[in-house]
Amino acid sequence: MIAGISIYEILTLTSILFFIGIYGFFTRENLITVLMSVELILNASAVNFVLINTYLYPDLLQGAVFSIFIVALAAAETALAIAIIINLYKLIYSVEVKDTETMKY
């Protein structure tokens, strides 16, 4: 609980953070920066878990535990994604989104 701050303000903050991440995901042209946007999205949701836990269910721990899981997953995801990006760079000497459109086929 943060004194003087209601859940609405916190959720507003995380929503803004979330959609900034979404915006970044849409607009960034580089895979690394796209990945960074994903980190923003993940963090926004992790904060949501923790704060909803503390505000609405103070006697429980689920949200807190889940946020730990989220951090673990985020670390794993980032490591793997960066490995893929580096490999991609080795293959096509580019990490631009526009060069990776093989999904089209």
Binding site: F25, T27, V34, V97, E101, M103, K104, Y105
Partner: protein, 639 residues
């Protein structure tokens, strides 16, 4: 009595066809010719033996028996099944003899005629295939087996007409023959289906027996346009015969079929295949005679008479010797048809039937001889046209004599084979239908005239400038000529009415002297006119032709039948029917399909940008979708 060995008669040519056809590259020409001749010789001997055996011992209480050996093949219902087998009765034995005789002679002859040709072995394999199919047709036990071999005969005829497949005209002629006869065979097939549907059987025995459903039940059968369906079926079947036998109006393929090698013309287009139509009617004769009181038989008679007249008229004007013979063939087959058409069924009343078969037999001999003789002439002068011939009697004595015999025989000169058979036909016609009789007598005169026009033009008259001096053909070609010449004289003395009759009961036929005198005098008049016109070169024929003017031109152009067909097919079928059909097809059927395709293509062109393969674009659509769904869900939730 056991006639099951007769199955060998068609099987030997089949084996020959397979051997020669499959190993045509391996077997040297010298062997294949002998092999073919030997095989057909065996068939020939076997069929002679069969004929002897059958006609001597095949009677039971004075009636010829029918022997059937068959194997059930395709079963549709208990009664309706297609069998394969052999049927031995007088006409099939007679036809078997004709086919094997002519085929054997043609094989012998071809050894000389085709000498040095590239496709020598191929030619003999085709000949064997043809002989097999024709014998299968003759021995068929049921309509469907006959139809199968009927088509096989058509196919082998196609192969043989188109034998010189590098020659465009031969290819066109083969195609024309195949398409025209195939069109006619459509009628045959429909007829078979109609008859078998209503009677529930294909079997000749059932179809022609007087207790059978076809004959006994026609009165109770369904009718269509005032005629019994059985009559329609028989007329449709006859349509197939009309096509094969080159009767009006399906005769147009026959003159063109002369593009094939001459022995082929002798075998197929003179003696055997073209009489298949006659054989078909003869085979089903009781049905034709009894159903609807012989209405279908009337059709047969009039088509035969008309064809015979028209063909004889056209033959008078043609200049290609093989075409003259082709029209002559058509005319003579018309004779056989009309003889069948005017025939009655029992005893001496069935004279027409007997006469038709008799004429079929003698005609096969002398017409094959004429063709082979013509082939010999063509072989010598390397041209088909009368203008390139003349005075050949000095160079080719054997051909000359045999050709003369054949011409006399076909002209009905007393004592020759054609005289007897033609006389029987005229008697039968006289007894039944005067109109047909007079037309036939006129045709007899015309026949004599055009045959001797041919004869004088080839063997008399002035010598032409030949590239090299014509010489008599080799022995391999003259021996068949001599044999057939012998047959052309003496075949007439066979007491045919003792052997082949409509009701299988022998009777004694007499020469009707007054009628015979009329016929032979008409023939002799024809010969004399030809003698005057063509013995010495003079301008009589030209003046005559000019006097008739456009009639002559009309007939010379074969009464414009080909042009009529071309008009019908090109202008009416292709021009109007096909054009509008294709317009409909292109604009409505295809148009709607193409329209759907075009719309799909343009829509997909518009929206294919969405499938950019870019992760972000997909994510955008995804988020956009979620936003919309979320809006809707919240909106509903609030309310």
């Amino acid at each position: 009595m056991d006639f099951s060995y007769t199955i060998l008669i068609p099987l030997i040519p089949l084996a020959l066809f397979l051997i020669l056809g499959l190993f045509s590259k391996k077997i040297p020409a010298s062997i294949s010719g002998w092999l073919g001749s030997l095989g057909l010789g065996t068939s020939f001997a076997l069929s002679l033996y069969t004929a002897y055996h059958y006609f001597m011992d095949g009677k039971l209480e004075g009636v010829y028996q029918t022997f059937i050996y068959k194997q059930t093949w395709l079963v549709f219902t208990d009664k309706l099944h297609i069998d394969l087998g052999v049927l031995i009765d007088p006409i099939s034995v007679m036809m078997m003899v004709v086919v094997t005789t002519i085929s054997f002679m043609v094989h012998l002859y071809s050894r000389g005629y085709m000498h040095g040709d590239d496709g020598y072995t191929r030619f003999f394999s085709y000949l064997a295939l043809f002989s097999f199919s024709m014998l299968g047709l003759v021995l068929a036990t049921n309509l469907f087996q006959m139809y199968i071999f009927w088509e096989l005969v058509g196919a082998s005829s196609f192969l043989l007409i188109g034998y010189y497949y590098t020659k465009p005209s031969a290819v066109a002629a083969a195609k024309k023959a195949f398409i025209v006869t195939r069109f006619a065979d459509l009628g045959f097939l429909l007829g078979i289906l109609l008859i078998s549907y209503y009677t529930g059987t294909f079997d000749f025995q059932d179809l022609t027996s007087e207790e059978g459903l076809l004959i006994a039940g026609w009165g109770a059968s369904a009718s269509f346009m005032g005629l019994s369906v059985f009559t329609w079926g028989l007329i449709l079947i006859y349509m197939g015969g009309v096509g094969k036998s080159a009767m009006l109006p399906f005769h147009i393929w026959l003159p063109d079929a002369m593009e094939g090698p001459t022995p082929v013309s002798a075998l197929i287009h003179a003696a055997t295949m073209v009489v298949a139509g006659v054989y078909l009617v003869a085979r089903l004769f009781p049905a034709y005679y009894f159903v609807e009181d012989g209405f279908a038989l009337q059709v047969v008679a009039y088509v035969g008479a008309l064809s015979s007249l028209v063909a004889a008229l056209i033959a008078v004007t043609q200049t290609d010797i093989k075409r003259v013979l082709a029209f002559s063939t058509m005319s003579q087959i018309g004779y056989m048809m009309l003889a069948l058409g005017v025939s009655k069924y029992e005893g001496h009343e069935g004279l027409g039937y007997m006469a038709s078969m008799f004429h079929l037999f003698t005609h096969a001999m002398f017409k094959a001889l004429l063709f082979l003789g013509a082939g010999s002439v063509i072989h010598a002068v390397h041209s088909n046209y009368m203008k390139d011939m003349g005075g050949l009697r000095k160079y080719m004595p054997i051909t000359h004599i045999t050709f003369l015999i054949a011409s006399l025989s076909i002209a009905g000169f007393p004592g020759f084979a054609g005289f007897f058979s033609k006389d029987e036909i005229l008697v039968a016609a006289f007894e039944s239908n005067k109109l047909i009789y007079f037309s036939s007598v006129f045709v007899a005169g015309l026949t004599a005239f055009y045959m001797f026009r041919l004869y004088f033009n080839i063997f008399w008259g002035e010598d032409r400038k030949y590239a090299h001096t014509p010489h008599e053909s080799p022995l391999s070609m003259t021996i068949p000529l001599i044999f057939l010449a012998f047959m052309s004289i003496f075949a007439g003395y066979i007491p045919f009415s003792q052997f082949v009759t409509a009701d299988l009961t022998p009777f004694t036929a007499h020469l009707d002297l007054p009628l015979a005198a009329i016929a032979s005098s008409v023939g002799i008049i024809g010969i004399i006119i030809a003698f005057i016109f063509y013995k010495k070169p003079n301008d009589l024929p030209e003046r005559f032709a000019n006097a008739f003017g456009f009639i002559y031109k009309w007939i010379y152009n074969k009464l414009y039948f080909d042009e009529l067909y071309i008009f019908v097919t090109k202008k009416i079928l292709f021009g109007i029917v096909a054009f509008s059909a294709s317009w409909f097809d292109k604009n409505v059927v295809d148009g709607s399909m193409i329209g759907i395709g075009n719309v799909t293509v343009s829509v997909s062109n518009k929206i294919k940008g969405m499938q950019s393969g870019k992760l972000q674009d997909y994510a955008m659509s995804f988020v956009g979708g979620i936003v919309v769904i979320a809006m809707v869900v919240f909106y509903i939730w609030i309310n």
